[in-house]
Assembly symmetry: C2
Homo-oligomer: 190 residues x 2
DNA sequence: CGAAAATTTGACATGACTCAACTGGAGTGG
DNA sequence: CCACTCCAGTTGAGTCATGTCAAATTTTCG
């Protein structure tokens, strides 16, 4: 059951009783997404948080020169959304696209705010996740600033080996802020 | 009153009644910080969230070559902390230092978690701020990826002119991920 | 006023990018 | 199931934006 994987994830951070779990479940919907399908496109107003039950997504934007720049990946048990568009109701600058066939749980903003009123522990769960996400964002920034192209690749290899398997090389390069050519040459060494 | 500026800030996001405001005030302490003093140093375990009543802070780390790399600024009415260290109790990789004489409100983690239990609206306030912060982090990332040194400077000028006034040029350069020499040459043009 | 720090300026070095050609494997349609 | 196309990945040559280093100048502040 998709929803169980979310309940398990929540249980790692806060306790919900059976009632609360039921209320939560009633606020959710599940969706299968095919590889290359989009949860969000530039210009859309983002309306939901997405919990990735399984699969892999990338969040990216298009640079002036037409190149795609990936700002984030999401895999099993991660949430993904555009918080700026979601909270401001303004058109998003980003695409969120499935890199593999995937299954997601959709929690719309309306339902989410509803849940926050009914079940404070859910709000706590999101508050905790947001803290961790913010920590991760600063760490990402740190790596971008201090590491060379080669070091960024090895660092990725060490910390997130699963990505190297799951996403094509040119997406990794984009995520690391380097060109596919440079990444290819780095891998050729040794 | 320092605490009033925090109450005003909170009121922009959630409503607290007089009782709640009192309870909150009892959990806080206020501190004056002189220019160049630190709220946090590398190796410290971060223990609090800091609300900047007035003044300016920078959060930075030291790169292998010894250079300081700024990851964030904080000014009046912003919160600043190292979420990774705060939540994991591990030594921080960052320094948080006053760029100007400043006044901060200290909310320790213990007091904060206490408040979250007593006053759910405070937890909501932080959840909302964290969402905005996360949005801002992704936007920052976007600019770093898509803009040239010159564009980053002008973008900063347009979006945050107050910083150009308040922080020395070499800190701006660091924040933008360029060298002071390059920034100086950009400013010399036109 | 004097020392230390910040900024400017110029010469030079370099890591990463662009462009282009080539290779190999995956996916598709006949 | 083969043939063809397309896309990802590789490789090499040349370029460029930004970094490094060093010295001169200006500003800050005790």
């Amino acid at each position: 059951m998709p929803i169980e994987s979310l309940l398990n994830h929540i249980a790692r951070f806060v306790k919900l009783n059976a009632d609360e779990q039921q209320v939560l479940s009633d606020h959710l919907s599940v969706k299968k997404v095919r590889k290359k399908e989009f949860l969000l496109k530039e210009g859309d107003i983002c309306t939901a948080n997405y919990f990735i039950v399984n699969g892999c997504f990338r969040m990216y934007f298009i640079k002036e020169n037409g190149q795609e720049q990936i700002v984030a990946f999401g895999i099993d048990d991660w949430w993904i959304t555009d918080y700026t568009s979601l909270e401001t109701h303004k058109p998003s600058l980003y695409y969120i696209q499935a890199v593999e066939d995937a299954e997601v749980i959709i929690l719309t903003k309306t339902q989410r705010d509803n849940l926050f009123d009914k079940i404070p522990m859910i709000e706590r769960y999101f508050r905790i996740l947001l803290q961790r996400l913010q920590g991760a964002s600063v760490t990402r920034l740190k790596y971008l600033f201090e590491l060379s192209a080669e070091e960024k690749y090895h660092n990725m290899n060490n910390h997130f080996p699963e990505f190297i398997q799951r996403v094509p090389q040119y997406m990794l390069a984009s995520y690391l802020g380097i060109t596919p050519e440079v990444l290819s040459k780095i891998r050729a060494k040794k």
